[in-house]
């Protein structure tokens, strides 16, 4: 088999994996949008914040140490302990639930009947706030995250493909792990949404706030629940991306990448987020592989957006989204 095709297959597989990671972030968006019609621009920053909190917890960092030192002239940085990953994750999850509750109470309760653009801009404000807050709390330098996920090249695949193609595919263990986690997460979320009482209530709220209220659904509870779920998804995404490339500011930019994923998959579909993520992941990598060298490379910066844009022009609601019918 010609070399290019073999390389192409490797790129394709890596594209699928990248797509899964994108989908993980996109899932958080879909959850919140489904339940409250809000496009949460802060989802990426939530992933960053949750990862930072996890690292901070595990390393026994003193929160706001920088600020405390500046104000009081002290020089403290660490408590001195180290927490195991699981405890760290549980504590971080608790903080994300608290965050969900605060966000609901302070911001979105007051913005209930506003237009979508206002809600979107509020989440941009939230994103900036949380970024500053996270940096203030844990420090803005890049951190290493290790919760024990296997990393590095998967030797089994390397050997197997070497035997078949004379070329060992480099597929990272982390990506495989992320794919499995994402698959479980999607199944769990879909099951939750379709088959549980809370899931049904969530879908009711997504459709019509007033109607949901009139059948006894507590809007506040649903919203806190949804934002907590989104927080959990953000944490998972944060762990995956953070392990892969370190916990740093650029993690929040992943949110921007999620946008084209949602354009393709539709804002309200959980499976759509996955399919959209895969298409973008594969598309990006393949385009860079095939066309990139011809036009200067680094096409991954914009390809996803242009693809989504072209797609949108022909199908404004995405692959799985609901068709927007406008009536007068």
């Amino acid at each position: 088999m010609p070399e290019q095709v073999i390389f192409g297959m490797e790129v394709f597989l890596n594209g699928l994996m990248a797509g899964v990671l994108y989908a993980l972030v996109a899932l958080g968006f879909v959850l919140i949008y489904k339940a409250s019609g809000i496009f949460n621009y802060a989802q990426g920053v939530m992933a960053l914040f949750s990862a930072m909190t996890l690292v901070g917890m595990m390393n026994g960092q003193v929160p706001f140490s920088h600020l405390i030192n500046a104000v009081f002239g002290t020089d403290i940085h660490h408590f001195g302990w180290h927490l195991p990953a699981l405890i760290g994750i549980l504590l971080t999850m608790a903080i994300m639930v608290l965050l969900a509750w605060l966000v609901q109470k302070i911001i979105f309760k007051h913005l209930v009947n506003q237009e979508p653009i206002i809600l979107f801009m509020a989440t941009i404000g939230l994103a900036y706030f949380m970024e500053g807050f996270g940096d203030l709390m844990w420090g803005g330098e890049i951190k290493k995250l290790d919760v024990g996920i296997p990393q590095g090249i998967n030797l089994w695949i390397d050997e197997a493909t070497y035997n078949i193609f004379d070329y060992g595919f480099f597929i990272d263990n982390l990506d495989i792990f992320a794919t499995i986690v994402a698959a479980i997460l999607v199944l769990a979320l879909v099951a939750f949404s379709q088959y549980t009482k809370q899931g049904r209530a969530m879908r009711a709220v997504a459709d019509d706030h007033q109607a949901a209220l009139s059948v006894g659904v507590s809007l506040n509870f649903i919203w806190v629940m949804v934002w907590s779920l989104a927080g959990f998804v953000a944490l998972v995404a944060g762990i995956m991306w953070g392990t892969k490339s370190g916990v740093q500011f650029s993690l929040s930019l992943i949110a921007l990448k999620a946008l084209p994923v949602l354009m393709l998959g539709g804002f309200t579909s959980i499976p759509g987020a996955i399919v959209g993520g895969l298409i973008i992941g594969v598309g990006e990598k393949m385009f860079e592989f095939l066309v990139g060298p011809l036009i200067g490379g680094a096409t991954e910066n914009w390809f996803a957006y242009v693809l989504a844009l072209l797609f949108l022009v022909f199908r404004p609601q995405g692959l799985f989204g609901e068709k927007i019918i406008e009536r007068v």
């Binding site: 920088h66 706030f129 022009v313």
Partner: protein
């Protein structure tokens, strides 16, 4: 008592249509113009110009431009940074290719070029709305930054990829390059801003402004009563990009002098200008000024307070800045979605009745 309309009757539609129907407002406007044009240039120094006035003037132009698109016409755009880049590179290419033509013409031409690019990237707005349109503009943002990085023709094949503004004069006085005096750069930008402000005001109070607002408020109804949505939306993109392009040209040519496209015109720039118009007030020319002033002054104030005043490290001040800006956005959206402009309007209304409560 001071601020009254009683007795100030309008007898013609023309009088009723004025920008500042109340005498007090009109005199205040002339006063500001006099101070801005005749007093400040003599009193100003380098620090004030570079830290405050120039960014304020230049961002005001961008904010007016973005407000026309987002605030008046309701089309969300996250591509402001990219369009400013178009203006900057356009003016660069024009300056270097035609060194004898006046810088003013180049700036206006740069605006026109950006307007054309804006129309191109605005075409999707005919099929796509709301967030989806925001994504389309993101495509513009990332693609434009990439293209100015990758295609060497744009930066005249220089090794560093950076573009530098050559010296140009306006009526004999240098306004770009290292020899430009701060009062000259200030006046140059001020003149352009004043013209832009007047043009924006004229456009938004006329039938075009009404078309934009109709599209914003209910585009289907607008189409049924006779507004061509294609021409209305594209004209908004065109006019908006014209202003933003001029702003980018000035930002590069007069303010920074040298620019690396990823840093100067990245997505953060787009958000910055968007925040300006949210905090200042969507759909308000005054709001564009207010928002620009606010977001230019805030980091300066914070740095002076925390770094110079309390001796903290600069990155702490930056973190706080993010928190304050983010928090203020949320605060304004919750409490006063129409921004500082609305607060100003309410204050004026109270003042009209003062000392009576209602």
């Amino acid at each position: 008592m001071l601020y009254r309309e009683a007795g100030d009757f309008k007898t013609t539609y023309k009088e009723d249509n004025q920008t500042f129907p109340i005498k007090f407002d009109r005199y205040r406007y002339y006063f500001v113009l006099i101070v801005a044009f005749l007093i400040i240039p003599f009193w100003i120094n380098d620090y004030w110009v570079n830290a405050i006035f120039l960014p304020f003037l230049i961002y005001s132009i961008a904010a007016i431009g973005l407000n026309i698109l987002v605030g008046y016409c309701g089309q969300v755009s996250l591509g402001t940074g990219g369009f400013m880049a178009v203006g900057a590179y356009a003016v660069y290419k024009l300056m270097t290719a035609f060194p004898d033509v006046s810088i003013m013409i180049h700036v206006v031409l740069a605006g026109a070029i950006t307007a054309c690019v804006g129309v191109l990237f605005g075409l999707p707005s005919l099929r796509i709305k709301g967030f989806y349109l925001a994504v389309a503009t993101l495509a513009a943002q990332f693609f434009l930054v990439w293209i100015f990085n990758r295609v060497p023709w744009f930066y005249n094949y220089s090794a560093s990829g950076q573009i530098n503004a050559p010296e140009r004069t306006f009526f004999g006085v240098p306004v770009t390059g290292a020899n430009a005096d701060s009062w000259a750069t200030y006046l140059f930008c001020l003149i352009i801003l004043t013209v832009c402000g007047i043009v924006a005001r004229n456009l938004t109070r006329g039938s075009i402004g009404r078309k934009w607002m109709a599209i914003r408020d209910m585009d289907i109804a607008a189409e049924i009563i006779g507004v061509n949505p294609l021409s209305a939306k594209l004209s908004a993109f065109a006019v908006s990009s014209f202003f933003i392009g001029i702003s980018g040209a000035l930002f590069f040519g007069v303010y920074l002098g040298a620019v690396e496209v990823g840093e100067a015109f990245g997505i953060n720039k787009s958000f910055l200008v968007l925040f300006m118009i949210i905090i200042g007030g969507l759909g308000s020319i005054f709001g564009s000024f207010a928002g620009a002033a606010f977001l230019v002054l805030l980091p300066v104030l914070l740095k002076n307070l925390f770094v110079a005043g309390l001796g903290w490290q600069p990155d702490l001040a930056t973190h706080l800045e993010f928190m304050i800006v983010g928090g203020l956005i949320i605060l304004f959206l919750v409490v006063e979605p129409h921004g500082i402009a609305q607060l100003w309007r309410l204050a004026k209304e109270k003042l009209r009745l003062w000392p009576f409560p209602y």
